[in-house]
């Protein structure tokens, strides 16, 4: 099937966010563009202030000058961020903002602050979500973000503008989520790489523009039906997208990806801001943050009654996934800490799994292929005889 122009534009924005920002600036003279760090930034507040908030991506270039700023045992994403900061590849942003407390992300952001000349604002959203005071602290911090964007744009952020921004992001996420839900239900129209491009472009683009292009791209595609390939759930890979060749190898081994909880996948699209017109948009944004971890648990958050392991098993049941491939970015501490809990639960549920530690500069694909083939074979052997 020839690729639609809309899909091409989404792919271009995903793979070259700098070019997208330049185009956006050309159409919005005098407006600000900020880089925001993954994974829980309330972009609605920025958009309501007339500011384009772009999730800063791993641009997948090798880390060179960044080595002089962060140790080699930081995760690939943060080392790449330091490299972007050191080589002026963050210069298309007027400011950088972050809300997530990951010590490695803070390290990289501090480098960007120390060697750049743009403001770097850290509004730390509480990560311990079981605490009785969490709701109050979230609301307070969201208020700080609002004040920060008012300072940047020089104008008050109005409730109506917030409502519109929420609706714009919600519509876009909802449409993306539909695509993910359809995949989990058996649709194979989109390859993992195409889905990744759709999500990453959503993390970069203006939501209305993204939504319109996505509608077009979806309309142009005929639906594909699931066959008897081994069904895979991809798990993990926080904060940045895995390399595309890795996703390709997975499907080349005779498997089909049916669901995921990747940051460049379902993790980004899963939660909508629970907003009904007429209510306070700021409190809805606060609830969005609090509920994101319930909708799809994250090891960077601490919430005693929310379990990523249980969520993962439910997800495999919903999608019919037969195996789980953990994509763990090397040195990602929260993932390393939580992985044994996932492993234990999947073992108990009898779901075959494979841990793949990804590296920023790529991993040997042939060795990975062999391991994946072994996993696929195991899954086939696992199938009931009548299948």
């Amino acid at each position: 099937m020839p690729e639609s122009a809309a899909l091409q534009r989404l792919r271009d924005a995903a793979r070259d966010p700098r070019a997208y920002v330049a185009q956006w600036r050309a159409h919005h003279p005098g407006c600000f563009v900020v880089g925001v760090m993954p994974m829980n930034f309330p972009r609605e507040i920025a958009l309501a202030a007339g500011v384009l908030p772009v999730y800063v991506q791993d641009d997948q270039r090798p880390v060179a000058e960044g080595r002089a700023y962060l140790p080699e045992f930081y995760c690939g994403y943060t080392r790449n961020l330091a490299d972007q900061a050191a080589t002026g590849r963050l210069d298309h942003f007027d400011a950088l903002l972050l809300a997530d407390h990951c010590i490695q992300l803070l390290g990289a952001s501090d480098v960007a602050r120390a060697i750049g000349d743009r403001p770097v604002f850290f509004g730390m959203l509480i990560s311990s979500l079981s605490d009785s005071w969490a709701e109050k602290k979230i609301a307070e911090m969201m208020g700080h973000f609002r004040a920060e964007f008012e300072k940047l744009s020089g104008a008050p952020v109005e409730d109506e503008a917030l409502a519109l921004a929420i609706e714009a992001y919600n519509a876009d996420r909802q449409l993306l989520r539909r695509v993910f839900d359809e995949r989990a239900a058996g649709d194979t129209t989109w390859s993992p790489v195409e889905l990744q491009d759709m999500v990453v472009s959503a993390q970069v683009m203006d939501p209305v523009e993204h939504h319109d292009l996505l509608v077009e791209a979806l309309a142009a595609a005929p639906r594909g039906e699931r066959d008897d390939r081994v069904r895979v759930h991809l798990s993990g890979h926080l904060c940045h997208a895995p390399r595309r060749e890795l996703l390709e190898v997975i499907e080349e081994t005779g498997a089909v990806v049916v669901d995921d909880d990747l940051w460049s996948g379902r993790r980004y699209v899963q939660s909508l801001v629970p907003f009904t017109p007429g209510e306070d948009p700021m409190s809805a944004i606060g609830r969005w943050y609090a509920e994101r971890n319930v909708d799809l648990p994250c090891p960077t958050r601490v919430q005693h009654d929310v379990d990523w392991d249980a969520w993962l098993i439910d997800a495999t049941r919903r999608s019919g996934a037969e195996v789980v491939v953990h994509l763990m970015p090397k040195f990602c501490e929260p993932h390393m800490l939580f992985y044994p809990e996932l492993r234990k639960a999947l073992d108990a549920a009898g779901i075959p799994q494979l841990l793949v530690e990804t590296e920023h500069e790529g991993i040997p694909l042939e060795a990975l292929r062999t391991r994946l083939e072994a996993l696929v074979e195991r899954a086939v052997r696992h199938r009931p005889a009548y299948a």
């Binding site: 010590i103 501090d110 605490d131 501490e333």
Partner: protein, 463 residues
Amino acid sequence: MTTTAPTAPTAEPRTERLAITREGGRMIADYWEDLFVARESGRKIVWYNGGALNPMFQAAGLAWCHGEAFAARLAAQRLEGPAQLAGAEYGYNAELCSYSRTHLGCAVLTLKGSEEPDSGVVGLHDRADLAAKLPAPDLFVNNYAGCSTGQQWDEVSYRVFGKNVPIFNVSHPFLWGNRPDAGYLVGSEWDEASRYVRDQLVELIDFLEVQTGRPFDYDALSESMTYIKRAGELRREGLDLCKATPAPATFWDWISCIAPINFLPGNQALVDYFQNVKDEIQQRIDAGISGVRDEKYRLYFDGIMNWNKLGFLSRKFAEHGAAVLAGRYIQNAFWQEPHLIDTSDPLLGMAQHYLLCPTNHGSKTLDHLTLRDCESYGIDGIVFHSTRTCRAFTGPQRLLARSARDNLGIPSIFFEGDVADASFYKEEILDSRLVAMLEAIDVARERGDHRRAGRGAEVAWPA
């Protein structure tokens, strides 16, 4: 150009460690022994991580086990192996913070021990296994500032124990310094964060009351904080005495004093200990005794401790006539600002100390503290311990190295090691880089350019 080679390492040890630290060692050994019999004596046991909450637990009548301290102790005694192996078998990656994976390994062993009660068969566990087995917790309290791993680690411990042990989290805002008035101990961000953490300590007291079934003893808290404040003051005074040239005691002596100030009960014995530390230092100054015989270089050590190599590192530096005098882990940690403590109402000052964890500052503040200490101790060079599995300490190190070079002309080296995993230590790198830095300092001195050896030099980044 002639250069003076750094003093050749001598066979005879050049370190003169403080004798009193042996007494500290005995107090610590007693403390752990007491912990291991706490349950038998009717006390509940709390596992905690991060800032020194022990005065709270003392006042609540609990026995306390600081996870990092226990991991450090195992590493210093080279008994970390079984716990780390148990952690690895459970699934923890070798690149995970080695404090957490040692302690989680202990949790796995402890749990296994309680699920398979001692059969009475002699030799069932070997000595090291036993050393790694902690008394199981009755409650967890997390009090980690700065490093996100600290909070996640306790959450995972809670899960390893099947979510059957109650847990309380204290959240700490990272002192990033967004606002123009932000700075060390000043600014609205500091004030707000202090109040927020103080309020959580009030909530913690409620939690402790529920867990112990007793009203919290505020008088006991004031009393223990009175002792801790005094011990903190004496520690500071002792540290200030070490600015003398030659220095009467070194960073390594102060490392040996961490455990007492970090988790021993607040009582008269603690005050006496730090009084004795200070007195011994003063006596040395009076008698002209230095911590490193024939001190030639004065160095700063940045990074968390390499517990596997403590004695070894202290001898290695001394062999070259290098007195390591100050470091982020000493000057900027452990009740280091005792004036903040109001003993009649100590919660705010305690909260502030928890926030002052040396990993809880943005690099701007760390830079201020590092330059301040380098200047006041007359530092010639900085040694960065590039602690493989501690991203919290290592993150800002390269920025600090650049700043010391650019602002004070101080050269730096980095060496690879780890907090509790000896396999990451790279001796040759430390050896060659240390010699090169000391040579550069000599060259600068010959040029009459004392403490300017780093001017224009490239920072020697880790390989």
